[in-house]
C-alpha cells in the first residue's frame, strides 16, 4: 500500500489527507509539531477573547482521525532525505514515505529589529504564541500598554484581542493609511476611523526602531522613527509572514522564499509536493502572488494535490480570486480584483460608494474602456460568492453588475438594502441611467 506522509497539520495538509482518504485506501500519516490535532489558525483570536475555548476551534472531533485512518504523529521533522525517501524527526525517529507532501505553513517576519527576541515580544501565528500572549498580556494590570508593529490583517486582529481586555494599544503602521497597499483609499480611510472608534492609538507612517529591555530582559518600551519612546509591556510583531522552510535548507529540494513548485504542486524532487503557505509557484498565476498565504488557497491546493496523488493528475488552477476578513466590527469580502491606488492596473477604474452614517462601503473595479467587471470589495455588506463567481466567469460588464446587484446580496433577511442608493451614485458618477432590478430567486438559484 502506498504510504503518504504529510508534514504539517494545518488546513492544507489536513485537506490533502481528507481527500486522499476519500479517494483511496492509501496509508496516511501527518507529522506535525505544534498541536496534537488540527485547529483553525484563523480562530486563535477568539480563544483569547473568550468567544470560544481552544477545543472549539478544532474542526473535527478527536475520534475523526482514527475513524478515517489518518495517523497523527506529533513531532518536528528535522531532515528530509529524499534519496532514501525518509524523514528524520527531532526525537530521532525515522518515517519512510512513498510520497511526501510539505505543508509547513508560515512563520512571522522579523526584520532584525534590535530587541526583537526579548521577552514579551512575539508574533501571532501559533498556539504557542497564544499561550505566550496569556503570559505577557493576561490583563491590563500586567500589561499597561501593548505596541503592535505592522498594519495588516493579523495586526488588527491582535489589537482587537487586546482591547477586549481593556489593554491600551498603540498600533504602528508604516503606510500613510491602514492597509492602503491593498485597499483603495476610501476603504482604508473608513478603517482608520473605525480603528479610532475602538480607542486604538493608530500611528500612521511610523516605523519601529528599537525595542528596549528592562533589567530582566523583558520589553519595556519601543522607540519609533518619529523620535518617540512608547512605554509598553508587550510588543506584537505582525509585519507579515514568510514560509516556514528552514529545515529544508540542505535537503536538495529547490527553495526560493518558499518551496518551489510547478502547477502540479510538484517540487523538483519526484514524489515530493508542497502546498499551502509554504509553497511558491515558479510563476505567479494571473494576478495572484507566487506565495499565497491565505486559508482558502491552502485548502484548494490540498484538494488539488489529493486528486493528483490519487491518480487524477490535475493542475492547481484556482478560479476567481476571493477573500474575506473582519476589521473589528466590520466584515470585508472581496471577489475578483480590486487594487489599491498603488497597485492599480493601467485600465482599472473604480466606483466607490460609502454610506452616509454607517460604516458600510463598496468599491467596484472595472475596465476603463470596455466596462468589463473586474472585482468588488464590500465592507459591512455580505455578498454571494456564487453570483460573483458566475459573473466573473461570464465576463459581465459593470452596468450589468449594477443592475443586478440585489441578486448578489447575502445579508441576513430584513437587512436594509442599499442597491438603489448605490446605483444612483453610480449613475451620477458616470452619467448613466441604470435602474437596479429587484432580487430574483430565479436568477440567483439559476432556475429555468
Amino acid at each position: 500500500m502506498e504510504h503518504i506522509v504529510i508534514i504539517g497539520n494545518g488546513i492544507s495538509g489536513v485537506t490533502a489527507a481528507r481527500h486522499i482518504r476519500k479517494n483511496s485506501d492509501k496509508k496516511i500519516i501527518i507529522v506535525s509539531t505544534e498541536t496534537d490535532y488540527f485547529f483553525s489558525r484563523t480562530a486563535l483570536m477568539y480563544v483569547y477573547m473568550g468567544h470560544m475555548k481552544f477545543e472549539h476551534i478544532q474542526p473535527y472531533e478527536n475520534w475523526f482521525w482514527k475513524k478515517n485512518r489518518i495517523h497523527l504523529v506529533k513531532g518536528y521533522v528535522e531532515r528530509v532525505e529524499h534519496t532514501s525517501k525518509n524523514l528524520v524527526l527531532k526525537n530521532g525517529e525515522n518515517i519512510a514515505y512513498d510520497k511526501l507532501i510539505i505543508a509547513t505553513g508560515s512563520k512571522p517576519n522579523k526584520f532584525g529589529w534590535p530587541g526583537q527576541d526579548l521577552k514579551g515580544v512575539q508574533g501571532l501565528y501559533s498556539k504557542q504564541d497564544l499561550d505566550a500572549l496569556e503570559v505577557s498580556a493576561p490583563n491590563k494590570d500586567v500589561c499597561k500598554r501593548a505596541v503592535i508593529v505592522g498594519g495588516g490583517l493579523i495586526g488588527i486582529e491582535l489589537a482587537e484581542m487586546l482591547r477586549t481586555r481593556d489593554i491600551p494599544v498603540t498600533f504602528l503602521v508604516r503606510e500613510t493609511s491602514f492597509w492602503n497597499g491593498v485597499l483603495p483609499k476610501g476603504e482604508s480611510q473608513m478603517l482608520n476611523e473605525h480603528i479610532a472608534e475602538h480607542h486604538i492609538d493608530l500611528r500612521l507612517e511610523t516605523n519601529l526602531v528599537e525595542i528596549l529591555a528592562d533589567e530582566n530582559g523583558h520589553a519595556r518600551a519601543v522607540t519609533t522613527d518619529k523620535g518617540n519612546t512608547i512605554e509598553c509591556n508587550m510588543v506584537g510583531l505582525t509585519a507579515g509572514v514568510s514560509p516556514n522552510i528552514d529545515f529544508l535548507k540542505d535537503s536538495g529540494i529547490e527553495l526560493g522564499r518558499g518551496v518551489k513548485v510547478n502547477r502540479y504542486l510538484e517540487t523538483n524532487i519526484p514524489d515530493i509536493y508542497a502546498i499551502g503557505d509554504c509553497a511558491e509557484q515558479h510563476e505567479a498565476i494571473g494576478n495572484r502572488r507566487p506565495i499565497e498565504a491565505v486559508w482558502y488557497t491552502g485548502r484548494m491546493m490540498g484538494e488539488t494535490v489529493a486528486q493528483t496523488i490519487c491518480g487524477n493528475k490535475i493542475q492547481y488552477s484556482p478560479g476567481h480570486w476571493f477573500n474575506s476578513a473582519k476589521f473589528l466590527d466590520i466584515e470585508y469580502q472581496t471577489y475578483g480584483w480590486v487594487f489599491s491606488e498603488r497597485g492599480m492596473k493601467e485600465n482599472e477604474q473604480h466606483f466607490h460608494w460609502r454610506h452616509s452614517q454607517e460604516k458600510i462601503c463598496i468599491t467596484i473595479a472595472f475596465h476603463k474602456e470596455t466596462g468589463l467587471f473586474l472585482g468588488i470589495n464590500t465592507f459591512g455588506i455580505r455578498m454571494r460568492h456564487e453570483i460573483f463567481d458566475r459573473w466573473l466567469t461570464e465576463g459581465r460588464n459593470v452596468d450589468y453588475v449594477m443592475e443586478h446587484l440585489a441578486d448578489a446580496n447575502f445579508d441576513p433577511e430584513f437587512y436594509s438594502n442599499y442597491e438603489q442608493e448605490i446605483t444612483s451614485k453610480f449613475n451620477s458618477d458616470f452619467g448613466k441611467s441604470i435602474a437596479s432590478k429587484k432580487k430574483s430567486l430565479k436568477r440567483i438559484f439559476a432556475i429555468g
Binding site: S40, Y46, G50, T164, F322, L328
Partner: protein, 527 residues
Amino acid sequence: MSTYDKSMALTGQPPKALNMGQKLATLLGMSGLGILALTLFNIDFPNKGLWLTIALSAIFIGVFWYSQAAYASKLKGIKNDGVWFKSVSSRGLWGWMSGIALTGFYIVLYFYPQYLGLVKDGENIGVIALFDPLSKMLSGNPASQWFVYGTLYTVAILAFGIKFIWKYRHNRYEKIRTVSVMFFQTAFAFLIPEIMARLNGKIPYYDLKNMWPLNYYNFERYRINGFIDSGDIGMAMLIFGILSIFVISPILTFKYGKRWYCSWVCGCGGLAETAGDSFRHLSDKSKMAWKVERWVVHSVVVFVTLMTTAVIYSYLGNDTSKYWLTKSVFLGGVALVLTAVFVWVMLFKREQLQKDAKYGAIGYFVIIMALIGLHFFSGDGNIFLFKSETLRKTYGFLIGSIFSGVIGTGFYPIFGNRVWCRFGCPMAAILGFQQRLFSRFRITTNGGQCISCGNCSTYCEMGIDVRAYAQKGENIVRSSCVGCGICSAVCPRGVLKLENGPQKGRINPTEVLLGNEVDLMDLVNQK
C-alpha cells in the same frame, strides 16, 4: 500544555469583570427577586399590589439597566467577549448555582406548590398571595402557581428580550424575531387566556399559539367538553386547534421552515432565546449528542401520539348511531393518516432520509402495532393493562414537567438553553421532520468563504455542528435547526444566510469547494 491559568489571569478583569452599572443593576434585579423570596417565609406584605409592582419593576429595570450598562456604550457588533471566562456562562460556580436554584424552583412549582403559598380551599398565602391582585385584575380569579409562573415567565421574556435586542442591535432579523416572541408571549400566552376566562368562564385556559403535541393535553376529555360547552367560540377554538397542527403549521413550515414557530412564536423558544441567550453556547455539539437527540426526541413523538390517541379513544363511544366518531373509526383514522405519511415519505423522500429512514420505519411500526393492540386488548378506559389516565399522567410527569421544566429550563446554565427543544419537544420533532423533507428553508453556505473558525457551531443552541457543513460548502438542512439566525450573525466571514428558496438544489453535497477552477469543481462534484 499551557503555562497559565486563565481564571487567575483574568480575575476581576475585563472582559470578565462587571462594570459599576452592571453591578448595581444586578443588585436591583436581585432585590426584586428577594422581595418575592421573602414572601415565601410567610412575611406578609401589607399592600400586596404595591409590593408586587415594586418587585416586578425591580427585576425588569434591573435587567434593562444591566443591558444598558453592558452594551449601550459599545459599538454595534458581536458581543461575545469573555463568554467562556465568566463563571455563570461557562459552567463555573455561578453557573451551577443558578442551575440548582432554577431546578429547585421548578420542582417546587410542579410538585410542591403549597410551599409557594397555594391554598386549596381558602385564601392563598406566600408568593402566590402576592400575585392575587394582578390575577384578580385580569381574570377575576385568585392567583395560582401557574399564574405566578406565567407572570414571571412573561416578565423574563420581556426584560431579557430587550437585552437581546440591545445585544444584537446591528441585526434586524434578530430584532424583529425578538419583538415577535415578546408579543406572542405577552398577548397570546399571558393576556388573552386570562381575559377570555373573564369573559367566558367555561372556556378552558387556551394559549392559542400552543398547539398539540406541545400542548399535549389539548384533546383531553375535560377540555373537549369545555370547548363544546362554551358554544360557538369554544367550537371555533377546538377547530383552530386541529387546523393549526394539520393545516396551518405544515403550510408555514413549508414556506419558512420551523423557525416560524420555534424562534418567532413559541413560548419555550421565546424564553430560550431571551433569558437563555447567555447559555446558548453550552449545548453539546458532539456526534454522540446528535445520536442521543434523535432517539430521545422521536421516542417522545411516539409516546405523545400513543398517549393522545389512547386518551381520546378512552372517552369515545362505540355506538355509531349516537356520534359518528367512535372508537374504531378514530383508531382507523389515525392509522390511515400515519400510513399515508409513511408511504409518501418512503416513496418520495427516502434517499434524503438515508439512515433515518430505518428509525422512521421503527417508529411507525411501534405506533401501528400499539394501535392494533389498543383495538383488540383494551376495555373501557383501559389501554392494554394501564388506564389511559395512567399513561397520560406518566407523560405529563415525565415529559410535561420533568423534561420541559426541570431539565429543560432548570439546566439552562449546564446544558444550554434549548435542551427541551432539542431532546424533548415532540412539536419540534414533527416540524423538524417537515423542515427536513418538505420545506423551502435552508441555511445557504456562501461558496468557499468558510475559515472553519467554529463560531457558528459554538453558538448554535441546538448543538448543530454548522461548521461541519459550512467548511464543505454544503447548505445546512437539519431538522433540528430552529432558525434563530445566530450562526449567521456570529460568523465573521459572512458565510451563512437563512433563506427560503426553491427545493431543488437545497441539499447540495460538494466535494471540491467554490474557488477552484470551474473544470475541477465540475469534474469532482458531478461524478
